[in-house]
């Protein structure tokens, strides 16, 4: 199919608005502004290898991974329910899924605080039942909750859109050949939904690693994540070079790790990763 020209507008766009800015970031990361002018150096990258920064990186990746897995575990069944014929107005249910996201994120996070605080609504409800109040806010768990809340629709929607068009004859055929519901899922439905799953994981994991608002608000600023670190460099420390270096490292780390996930895709339908 000679349709490569369809992607030309996009390619042009990417070169202008993604590639050139990327070059800019790369340029900042390998240069140093000294008294005499510019100097090429790898010092910024080496600085990132210090234990404290690696600690921040590991924590960010860990939290992002947990959030992504949770999103997948919670989101996949939801996508299946949406794709099934359980609701008469499917499109409305999809829309209703996304509408909460149109309310400003800061507002919704503050609302979560009202729910999770020591004297918040959840604890008030628990003590009304006679149970002990829980320490829900300012924990790593709260940060994960925030991430899952924020990214769930990004996992559910791609999976749903793929599930909704799986040829149901394949499922019936598998059933006819003697497979029970579980085997049908494992051997037919799940493999066919993989393209959606991979997209979902991509759209959740990548931004989850670099988010910083959630950890700042729900984590009580106690967990510096890589997103916080980068923001600090650009705005507070004025160290654009170091900030750029961290960003470059992030890009490489994430792109490499995503390639591991997509290795499970069929060879000839690769999503373009390594």
């Amino acid at each position: 199919m000679k349709k490569n020209w369809l992607s030309y507008p996009y390619l042009l766009w990417m070169v202008l608005f993604v590639f050139f800015p990327l070059l800019l970031v790369f340029f900042y990361s390998i240069t140093d502004r000294t008294g005499e002018g510019l100097r090429f150096t790898l010092a910024h990258f080496r600085r990132f290898m210090e234990p404290i920064y690696l600690k921040v990186l590991t924590r960010s990746v860990k939290l992002a991974l947990i959030s992504t897995v949770l999103c997948l575990m919670l989101g996949y069944p939801m996508a299946m329910i949406l794709a099934g014929n359980h609701f008469k107005r499917k499109n409305i249910m999809i829309f209703l899924f996304v509408v909460p996201m149109w309310m400003n994120f800061l507002l919704r996070t503050y609302a979560w605080m009202t729910l999770l605080e020591r004297k918040g609504l959840i604890n008030t409800f628990l003590s009304w039942l006679g149970l002990n109040p829980l320490n829900l806010l300012y924990t790593e768990e709260a940060v994960v909750l925030g991430m899952v809340y924020n990214f769930l629709p990004f996992m559910v929607l791609p999976i749903y859109s793929v599930l909704s068009k799986i040829d149901k004859n394949l499922i019936e055929a598998a059933g006819d050949l003697g497979a029970n519901q579980f085997t049908v899922f494992l051997k037919v439905i799940f493999p066919l939904s993989l393209p959606g799953v991979v997209s979902g994981i991509t759209m959740v994991f990548m931004p989850a690693v670099t988010t910083f608002v959630i950890s700042r608000l729900l984590g009580g600023g106690q967990f510096t994540l890589i997103g916080n670190l980068i923001e600090q460099q650009f705005l507070y420390a004025g160290d654009w070079s170091f900030g750029s270096a961290i960003s470059m490292v992030m890009m490489i780390v994430i792109l490499l790790s995503t390639s591991v996930i997509t290795k499970y895709e069929k060879e000839n339908e690769g999503g373009g990763l390594w």
Binding site: K55, Y110, E117, G220, L229
Partner: protein
């Protein structure tokens, strides 16, 4: 599903048409671009200004000094009036980013209290006119803290483990630790900074959270016993929850100012000065101070506000107290040092 397109298009068309028409009528008035903190002005004041001087005002907001600084420094924008804080003004003066004010156009500046002229960051008042000011102190819940609060050290008291809220701001929190140890909030001495870092790391297990503006709601709700807050916020918090009390520690604290400046990128210096002058008009300044609730540096305003508020040391502390207070200075290259310390504390 395909049937949705006509409806979507119709809505889009209607929206765009209606709203384009409403924004039509481009006038030939001068347009003044004002850049201020969010929710930091009485809105009606802007409309009054526009009517009185026939100048249109584009009012934009920023969330931190640093955001605003990057935006203005990069050169892409053309703001006429900015409302930075003390240390940012110092930095902008150093980097030649501001215009010198022509006080012939700002006669109302005479209303600024004498003690607020010749401040560290702008000794000759060449570039700025103060807008709001305040201090940093400890707010505490009287029902949870049964001893007098006189020193920063109470924030390191293990008795209040997980009942302490610190500010999620590098300079403010490191500043508190420095003051507790008896050092200046602007120190460049690496040993003193190291001591402050160790103190903050030691404190971390006792801290419930490092918060931003939600410290107000937290203390009002009684979620914590002690918190570091700005004096203006303390006034509001005490009003919402009478159990709260504000204290300025004996080791002294931070004195802060937000002031009006004109960046070099401005194309309407005269109009900008008119705006600053307007903001210093007693009636207008009072409206702002009343709405915002922070302390005003304006002599006439202090005559107009509720005498109870004027007598409250939270909002208007005695002159003598403020002698030893530190105003933040621009740290220049040492910003990186402070940042590194903050990272080590937070990542611990």
């Amino acid at each position: 599903m395909v049937k949705k397109w006509p409806i979507l298009l119709l809505i889009t068309l209607v929206l765009t048409t209606v709203l384009t028409l409403s924004s039509c009528g481009q006038d030939n008035r001068v347009v003044l671009n004002v850049y201020n903190w969010g929710d930091y002005i009485d809105e009606s004041v802007i409309k009054e200004f526009e009517k009185k001087y026939n100048i249109r005002v584009n009012y934009d907001t920023f969330s931190t000094n640093e955001d605003m600084y990057v935006k203005v420094k990069s050169g892409g924008s053309n703001y006429d009036v900015l409302f930075p804080s003390d240390y940012t003004i110092e930095r902008m003066v150093k980097e030649d980013m501001l215009l010198k004010l022509d006080y012939n156009n700002i006669p109302n500046a005479q209303y600024i209290e004498e003690r607020f002229k010749h401040l560290d960051y702008d000794p000759q008042n060449e570039y700025s006119v103060p807008y709001m000011w305040g201090t940093v102190g400890i707010i505490y819940n009287k029902t949870m803290v049964h001893e007098p609060v006189t020193s920063w050290r109470i924030l390191w008291d293990e008795k209040y483990s997980k009942q302490i809220l610190m500010l999620d701001s590098q300079r403010d929190s490191i500043g508190v630790a420095l003051k507790m140890l008896g050092y200046s909030m602007n120190t460049l001495n690496l040993e003193e900074l190291e001591a402050a870092k160790q103190a903050l790391i030691k404190q971390k297990p006792l801290v419930l959270a490092y918060v931003g503006d939600d410290v107000k709601d937290k203390m009002i709700a009684g979620e914590a016993a002690l918190a570091v807050v700005w004096s203006g916020d303390a006034v509001y918090m005490k009003w919402e929850n009478p159990d709260l009390e504000f204290a300025l520690p004996e080791e002294a604290s931070n004195l802060w100012f937000d002031a009006m400046v004109i960046p070099k990128s401005s194309k309407h210096q005269t109009e900008a000065e008119t705006f600053i002058n307007f903001m210093c008009d007693p009636e207008i300044a009072f409206k702002n101070a009343d709405y915002i609730g922070y302390s005003s540096p304006h002599r006439e305003v202090q005559k107009m506000i509720d005498p109870e508020l004027l007598a409250d040391p939270t909002a208007y502390p005695a002159d003598a107290m403020l002698e030893s207070y530190d105003i933040f200075h621009d740290l220049g290259e040492y910003l990186k040092v402070y940042d590194r310390i903050w990272t080590e504390i937070k990542a611990h």
